[in-house]
Chain length 265, copies 3
Amino acid sequence: MKIIALLTDFGYKDNFVGVMKGVILSINPQVNLVDISHGARPQSILEAHFLLKNSYNFFPKGTIFVGVVDPGVGSKRKPILIETNDYFFIGPDNGIFSFLESYEIKNTVHLTNKEYFLKPVSSTFHGRDIFAPVAGFVSRGVISEEFGTLIKSIKRIEIPKPRIKKGKLVGEIIYIDGFGNLISNISREIFDKFTKGSKFEIAIGKVRINKISSSYAEANSKTPIALFNSFQNLEISMKDDSCAENLGLNPGERIRIGRVAKPIH
Amino acid sequence: MKIIALLTDFGYKDNFVGVMKGVILSINPQVNLVDISHGARPQSILEAHFLLKNSYNFFPKGTIFVGVVDPGVGSKRKPILIETNDYFFIGPDNGIFSFLESYEIKNTVHLTNKEYFLKPVSSTFHGRDIFAPVAGFVSRGVISEEFGTLIKSIKRIEIPKPRIKKGKLVGEIIYIDGFGNLISNISREIFDKFTKGSKFEIAIGKVRINKISSSYAEANSKTPIALFNSFQNLEISMKDDSCAENLGLNPGERIRIGRVAKPIH
Amino acid sequence: MKIIALLTDFGYKDNFVGVMKGVILSINPQVNLVDISHGARPQSILEAHFLLKNSYNFFPKGTIFVGVVDPGVGSKRKPILIETNDYFFIGPDNGIFSFLESYEIKNTVHLTNKEYFLKPVSSTFHGRDIFAPVAGFVSRGVISEEFGTLIKSIKRIEIPKPRIKKGKLVGEIIYIDGFGNLISNISREIFDKFTKGSKFEIAIGKVRINKISSSYAEANSKTPIALFNSFQNLEISMKDDSCAENLGLNPGERIRIGRVAKPIH
């Protein structure tokens, strides 16, 4: 059975995801539907991008991903299908798939062939009317070119990247997980390249940390720790509590690493 | 594989839905289980009715729906199975299936044959003890008549309908979705029949709107817009924010359409 | 298709559960994945234990359970696989599987064979790196002994048990469900054995109840009732409202049963 994996910001109250699944199953009842998450922050392309980026390569080859965080639904943004050597990605062309490098992409198709849409297409729910049925037909083996016209590039959002400023490595919090852990855009690789094994101090809000813990179990109550999470991002965490709430920090918050013996002020 | 689609108000904290799935799979391991939603407002038959009404016809023929919002569990309300030409519906006879017109219903069975129940049947969880196992056996091909005695009609709840009052079309908010959009019982058809292309003003709370937007993308921050959603209901929405919270409005709130050049006061 | 049922405290915002499913499907695409719940209270082994205990025996024989509430991930607690005559259980050895009696357990394996892990194994997400892949390989028929070394016993947490104190049966609230119902550790059997059909009074917080209701439908608004729920635990409930919020009560709260004509003070 083909696998179709769904990521949306539709939440868990409404029937939106259920309806998309109904549409897919009406086209191909022999498909294995998997939820990646429907809890992405409403309208946050950045958050959906983060979740999808850190999920897709754990799925088997041939998986069809449908990603719907779509503030521009009904406007001019294109509905697209991206084919790579290993996967298919279906959703709005709004940057949600920016994690795919150009060289990885085999085909990008602007979805224009209405034969594969629900009729009529609403201007508010392309998840149901375009993306779900296209996913259903892709799972039945319809080739990418059938769905519309090939286009040369996808829209890319600006993903905040860490940079060196006044001798410090400056990153930012890009995601807060359900436990309240603060996840930064500083990867282990970038961190190691910067610190080169020397002493360091991590500064975020009023917190100063000068050690990388290896697991959550090392934390004491109420003292934030820093560690590299399972996706290799530098993360600030607090035992049995939400670090984000306790420190009052939000996505976008700066995190600075200094290669100093003296503390950062 | 047969499809069993579930809608409940059980939420996502407990094991109630998981246990129902275990019961179904114990009877028929070759079944495709789909969640429509488990986020219906606790005990709100009206909300469950709305979600199911706007979902079932997107599923393939033969789908078995289990709808459990059941404040009367353990009381005299009947457990039932409804068979239409295309679908099966299983749940309490409390109005949750009121969207089915009498002429669509082939059979309604009062579930009385304990052979198809879990033993003993609790008085608090018919989802597990009656509805799940009956769904499992329906998916295995057991015919409706096997499950109990035929009855002639189902209970129907009063669904609020829009009406004309003092020259105005008066409807009400029947559902607030997870984004905080206010969804009314005024369909596009009724709206068009009333306005006949003339100018209009939509009044809800302190908000006045005299235009139908075609997509969410048209909204500016903090100014509510009106549009017909993907289920063809007139809906009031706000960009990147919860309209319900911002305006302090709840289900039951009146929405009035005037065919006037002058504003409604 | 084999069934793999998942219980975690990962919630519904993140991609953690989705990633675990991707890992499982990469190993065995022909598996039926079922969510028991991902809403267990973060880090609450007791709550996860309660949910799993009241779920597993509703699933078909051969079901593979993955239970991940794992505050000690990355520390010395062992990753384990338990095989009983009917089921498999995979997760951390932290007491989450304490509901299994020693005589039921055929094999307990300390998961040490890295051949069946994702590489590299992180120190923060064994759900993805150890438990999910092992579940995938168990579903493909790999025998328990292959995964590591046999161990003789599992860790057991102290599950609060009701006791007799000064002539009263004293239990406690061990779980609050999504409706706000207060669920105690007093089973129907223990209750009946204590009261022996005589009059009784149930005392919790400021509430006194001297009757067992048979269903939620018996409740009047705002008056708490006592009933045995579908898992045979004594439960305190309130009509259309959260009993926990209304009474301001939490897990751990005492509940006392007196075999008295006079009220408890």
